[in-house]
């Protein structure tokens, strides 16, 4: 089952619908911060769910909700180099490594890479960070 179908079954808090302008702003600010663009597959996901939060698990979006704002979180939280932070749970971070073009599940404390997913494996990466079914 696709991740989007999986979360449709649940009543998770999500960000407001994604506006094109918001996505452009997010892309520009992230680039200004020395990061990179939001990967295409994740941007596609944001068009359906512009950020989700559930019980200590977060996926970021271009949303005014401070808990899920991809810009604020990339500014505030520590993360491995050359990555954009896309979400986290109690233990791990979900990052996109823009050098290797891969999603990575990384230990929050020591940044050890626990799992790696190619860009087309976004479903698996999102499922791995979002353990709730």
């Amino acid at each position: 089952m696709k991740f989007v179908e999986l979360i449709e079954r649940n009543n998770f808090a999500k960000g407001e619908d994604l506006e094109s302008e918001a996505l452009i702003v997010a892309q520009k600010v992230l680039c200004n911060m020395g990061l990179d663009m939001i990967p295409r597959s994740y941007a596609d996901f944001l068009r359906k769910y512009n950020g989700i939060k559930y019980d200590g698990i977060y996926l970021f979006g271009a949303t005014v909700d401070d808990d899920m704002d991809i810009i604020d979180k990339n500014e505030q939280m520590d993360k491995p180099e050359n990555t954009i932070l896309l979400g986290y749970n109690e233990f791990d971070l979900l990052c996109y490594d823009f050098k290797s073009k891969q999603y990575k599940i990384v230990d929050r404390s020591d940044f050890e890479v626990l799992d790696t997913y190619e860009e087309n494996e976004i479903d698996e990466a999102l499922t791995a960070i979002f353990n709730a079914q």
């Binding site: 506006e19 302008e21 997010a26 079914q133």
Partner: protein, 512 residues
């Protein structure tokens, strides 16, 4: 939401935000009134308190980058002092610990146990030998008793955790059904077992993960239920004290939130359904329309203002009929959830330090979990934490906040005397039994992996499996990837290397 709100929010970033911190009124206020800092801090709302923490920490961080001669300026010294006052108020200490990182497999198991879910492993993460046995499986050929899980070094790593011990029976049944050769257990890796557990518990083939412990019983939810069981009255009282815009939280919100925590162990505000506690006109009309004969309610005998029985509320929520008794304000809108804390789970003994305890399973023990307001969790407890590698790159140093009192269970705010619930959840006989069992089941991960690799040689020969030299190298690489974290492990690596060389030589001889 009005269009462009997100763009306006980040206009500053687009225009290259300037450093405003030192000119903020907050900065002036903190440093001009620092003698009465704790009392001033206490009366602020959480968002302002978090801002203060960040401001003070930023000052310290800036000083870290300075040369020794420039260090020790007034503001940095003062910031350090004021942060220590915040830690004291919250009953936390800021400590540095040396630790050796856990193996990736151990980290994964800790996460799986906490959530009760298992993520599907990718095919290329499964071992060659497991795939070989899976391909040649003969369903129902062997009795379930043939699957001696404790003969498996990898399973012994799982067996350290109560959650995994509890599914052994199910797993044996699944193995019997799948017909995997029992010898496979001796060489299966942790990832291979993850795949087996996933297959045993998946709901459908296309799922990415599976609950091996029912969601309502996973450790995280169990913890919340226990908090409500042992400190529910205190929890409710704390919620009643909270204010939003000068008003107390509506009683119906408090009751519904506590019900959800108590019954499901769920603290997620997004999932909360707020129900009425007394019958009103709207509910009575709705009930008259809806046939609830099975519940034995005679609607004609109900009157406005009568309390709704808790069992009836539970029934309506469980059967997706809560809409009928959902609480609404004077204008008919669902009640606001503002003012409720979004609680998150915090491990007091950090997962990364788990290797230092008696057993790694202890990291998921009840007294190691604190339910914390998400703003404090992210903006304070994790904000100040950092990990540094030592010179040799093996040993690491962690600086983090640790609760001074192991009984700290819920943290609504910074004031440890008024915003915190203390409760010891490790006094039950059930927990004591679990702890004793955990200690008996403790194993050394690297030792287990060494045995597993020794088994590989034997099984390859016993089953005459055509195994390339590159596979043996692959196995070695996998093991090498696991961080060699102390002298023992370095010695293990040397032994494994020797062993592999022996296998390669033997195979070379056979090939001749």
């Amino acid at each position: 939401m009005s269009r462009g709100k997100y763009a306006r929010k980040h206009k500053k970033q687009l225009e290259q935000r300037v450093e405003e911190q030192a000119r903020s009124p907050l900065f002036d206020e903190i440093f001009t009134n620092s003698y009465d800092f704790t009392n001033n801090f206490k009366i602020q709302d959480i968002n302002t308190q978090i801002q203060i923490v960040h401001l003070l920490y930023d000052i310290l961080k800036k000083e870290e980058g300075l040369s020794p001669q420039k260090k020790g300026n007034f503001y940095a010294e003062e910031a350090r002092y004021l942060l220590s006052k915040i830690h004291k108020l919250a009953n936390f200490s800021y400590d540095q610990d040396i630790f050796y990182p856990l193996a990736r497999d151990e980290k994964r198991l800790i996460r799986m146990e906490c959530y009760g879910t298992i993520n599907r492993r990718k095919d290329d993460e499964l071992s060659f030998l497991f795939k070989h046995f899976r391909k040649n499986a003969q369903p129902e050929k062997y009795p379930s008793t043939a699957y001696r899980l404790m003969a498996s070094p990898s399973w012994k790593v799982f067996h350290q955790f109560e959650s995994f011990r509890s599914i052994e029976q199910d797993l044996r049944r699944y193995l019997q059904k799948s017909g995997l050769h029992p010898d496979a257990l001796q060489v299966m890796t942790v990832s291979d077992f993850c795949e087996v557990i996933f297959q045993a518990y998946k709901v459908s083939e296309s799922d990415g993960n599976a609950f091996f412990i029912p969601k309502q019983n996973c450790l995280k939810n169990k913890q919340n239920k226990n908090i409500m069981k042992y400190a529910g009255a205190e929890f409710e009282a704390m919620l009643r004290k909270r204010e939003v815009n000068g008003k107390k939280i509506d009683e119906r919100v408090v009751k519904s939130y506590c019900d959800m925590m108590r019954r499901y162990g769920n603290s997620d505000i997004g999932s909360l359904i707020i129900t009425e506690r007394n019958y009103n006109q709207r509910i009575l009309e709705g009930l008259a329309r809806d046939e609830l004969i099975n519940f034995g309610i005679d609607v004609s005998k109900l009157e406005i203002g009568m309390p709704i029985p808790q069992e009836f509320i539970d029934y309506m929520v469980d059967n997706n009929k809560a809409e009928l008794i959902m609480a609404r304000d004077n204008e008919g809108r669902p009640l606001s959830k503002d003012g409720l804390p979004q609680l998150e789970d915090h491990h007091n003994l950090a997962v990364m330090l788990a290797g230092r305890g008696d057993t790694i399973a202890a990291v998921n023990y009840p007294n190691n979990h604190i339910s914390v307001d998400s703003r404090i969790h992210q903006g304070y407890l994790h904000w100040l934490g950092k990990t540094m590698k030592s010179g040799d790159g093996i040993e690491q140093i962690s600086a983090r906040l640790n609760a001074k009192d192991s009984k700290m269970r819920v943290m609504f705010g910074f004031d440890a005397e008024n915003d915190v619930i203390y409760c010891d959840l490790e006094q039950s006989a059930e927990f004591k039994r679990r702890k004793m069992k955990d200690l008996k089941c403790k194993v050394n991960y690297f030792e287990m992996m060494q045995i597993r690799m020794q088994n590989e040689g034997k099984i390859i020969e016993k089953h005459n499996i055509n195994c390339s030299r590159s596979y043996i190298h692959e196995g070695y690489r996998n093991l090498k990837e696991i961080k060699s974290t102390d002298d023992y492990n370095k010695e293990t690596m040397r032994q494994v290397e020797k062993l592999l060389k022996k296998h390669i030589t033997q195979r070379k001889g056979k090939n001749k």
